[in-house]
């Protein structure tokens, strides 16, 4: 028997670059695939969501103004940090979802590759979604896609890491900031990913992570007037209707996706049209 006392990790939220406990003081139990107790992550409340939105809103102007090149560098940096902690992610995925080591390793590899892929899109998406439009007059007419602001997201239950990255990365690629609710049953990947973010030069407040129950947080995300769009990929289809209804008040863009593609980035961008006179 070892004489050393176990050092157990406390899983907390990630808001504005810090790791606070939920203001509600609540936690819930997370069990391994075999039913063994693993951790007590925070059960976030609507007030944690409110605080996270304030942080995300404050972070938006800076992140939006950063050059696309700089955003790409930071996304790539996140990929680098994730690669360096590969073993921990593999362990946590195996423990909570019960997949084999081979599958868990593939999920982490795919996650790193996915981040690099989105990093590449930061300075190319404007060419894909924007255009130069022919007009009948002495003007250049451009359509330029821009970020929308604060986007809330609900990550899918599984895959707990890759699904999370597929939700978060496209949102921030274009300059949005995000408040994301992690997988309820397997939140450890997301919370460990927060530690990756904290060491990745990502400005505070660009990604804010909550853990808790979808049915508790999602309606508040939908009704919050300072959230501009919502990714509900992680919600069961039968809950999509009421959430879309609640989100109509401030004309939120509400989308859900099944796979990774550039459309996920474009979905959370707004087109701006600019007229510019042609000089003689």
């Amino acid at each position: 028997m070892s004489n050393r006392i176990d050092v157990k990790k406390t899983y907390k939220l990630y808001i504005n670059g810090a790791f606070p406990r939920t203001e509600s003081g609540r936690t819930y139990e997370v069990k391994s695939a075999k039913g063994v107790f693993v951790a007590n992550p925070c059960l976030a409340s609507r007030k944690d969501l409110r605080d996270a939105v304030v942080a995300a809103r404050a972070a938006h102007s800076g992140w939006n103004k950063a050059t696309a090149y700089n955003r790409g560098q930071i996304l790539y940096r996140i990929a680098e940090m994730l690669e360096g902690r590969r073993a921990q992610f593999v362990d946590e995925i195996m423990q909570l979802t019960g997949v084999t080591k081979v599958k868990a390793e593939k999920e982490v590899t795919d996650s790193v590759d996915r981040l690099v892929w989105y990093a590449g899109w930061t300075d190319k998406i404007a060419s894909l979604a924007g255009s130069t439009n022919p007009v009948a007059g002495p003007f250049y007419n451009f359509t330029i896609p821009e970020s929308m602001g604060v986007v809330a997201a609900i990550a899918p239950e599984t895959p707990s890491l890759l699904g999370f990255i597929d939700v978060v990365a496209p949102i921030i690629t274009s300059g949005n900031t995000v408040v994301v609710l992690a997988s309820t049953k397997a939140p450890l990947s997301a919370m460990t990913f927060a530690e990756v973010l904290a060491t990745s030069d990502l400005p505070h407040g660009v990604i804010n992570i909550l853990t808790g129950k979808k049915e508790e947080i999602a309606p508040w995300m939908a009704s919050h007037m300072d959230i501009d769009a919502l990714d509900i990929s992680g919600l069961p289809a039968k809950q999509h209707g009421p959430i879309k209804f609640a989100g109509a008040e401030n004309l939120k863009r509400i989308h859900s996706f099944k796979s990774a593609d550039p459309g996920r980035i474009i979905a959370f961008m707004e087109a701006k049209t600019v007229w510019h006179p042609i000089g003689l």
């Binding site: 409110r50 939105v53 809103r57 508040w220 009704s223 919050h224 007037m225 300072d226 008040e249």
Partner: protein, 315 residues
């Protein structure tokens, strides 16, 4: 002048009056302010507190870049803070620099805001570094332009050097200029007074000299209206009331940016001087950003969902 019979206007009597004040227990004041900040406010009281706080806001713009347009917009907001909701009360006053007083007064009268007074910052705000003649002229100008409240700064240099009588005489002279035309608020700039003992001293000095209100800060120096400072000033006001049966008002200003901070101030008032002071005649909050947060919290309580800064006016 009688000075409530507390001093006779001589240096010696002022010194003995101030030296007889009890000291402030720093640790105790900070602990009590921190304890009062943890009070939980239930929903129905919160609604009342938000509306009360709105009536207490001195809506302020004190920037070098202020324009008549900005001041007019501020006045419009002061009269009707939420254009979509007529149940929101008007704020306590509009607080501007001297040269903007007539712009503010004229515009307020034009839009039906006769009940909203204009406060002017005066006596070489914010530093207080000018000759007495200039300070008197400054105050007279503001009153002539229609200011009903004068926010004067004290000469902190004189105060910290122990020349209390100079500070006292200054307040007395400005009070004479104000007469019965304008309320006098005396700003201490507590961030520069260093100790709570000094804050207590300055409070008693200003009250004896004829201040109608004592105010924490200019908003140009940090720290401004911290909870312990406001507590010390409220206790001074309470003790002064026991001595003279005169109610002096308190105005924290600077650093109160959200509803939570404002409600904490109301709790301090209620627990220190009592509910008599919970009205805009005796308690004001100097702020600019606060009003929007109060409005957003009010919307949240009415609508049931979180609001956004996009739904309140910017200035």
């Amino acid at each position: 002048m009688s000075f409530y019979g507390l001093v006779d206007g001589s240096d010696a009597s002022l010194k003995s009056y101030l030296n007889n004040l009890s000291g402030v227990d720093q640790v105790g004041a900070e602990a009590r302010a921190a304890m009062l900040a943890t009070r939980s406010i239930k929903t129905s009281s919160k609604r009342w507190a938000i509306d009360t706080a709105i009536t207490m806001v001195d809506l302020t713009t004190l920037e070098g870049a202020d324009t008549p347009g900005k001041v007019k917009a501020l006045c419009t907001k002061a009269v009707r803070p939420d254009p979509t909701d007529s149940t929101v009360p008007s704020v306590g006053a509009v607080c501007v620099y001297n040269d903007m007083v007539s712009v503010a007064r004229t515009h307020l009268d034009l839009i039906g805001g006769q009940h909203v007074p204009v406060a002017a910052v005066s006596t070489a705000f914010p530093s207080g570094r000018a000759s007495m003649a200039v300070k008197i002229q400054d105050t007279q100008d503001a009153i002539d332009a229609g200011a009903a409240e004068i926010d004067m700064v004290i000469d902190r240099g004189a105060f910290l050097a122990g020349r209390y009588i100079d500070v006292f005489n200054e307040i007395v002279q400005i009070k004479q200029v104000c007469g019965d035309k304008a309320h006098l608020k005396v700003i201490f700039e507590t961030g520069e007074l260093v100790t709570y003992d000094n804050v207590r001293k300055a409070s008693f000095l200003a009250m004896a000299a004829g201040a109608d209100f004592i105010k924490t800060s200019t908003g140009k120096v940090a720290p401004a209206a911290t909870a312990p400072v406001v507590l010390v000033m409220l206790e001074a006001v309470r003790d002064f009331y026991e001595m003279t049966s005169t109610r002096i008002g308190v105005k924290p200003a600077g650093g109160i940016r959200n509803t939570k901070d404002a409600i904490k101030q109301l709790v301090l008032v209620n627990e220190t001087v009592g509910p008599d002071w919970l009205n805009p005649k005796l308690f004001r909050i100097g702020a600019s950003a606060l009003l929007n947060d109060l409005l957003m919290q009010r919307m949240k309580m009415d609508e049931g969902y979180y609001s956004s800064p996009q739904y309140v006016t910017m200035d």
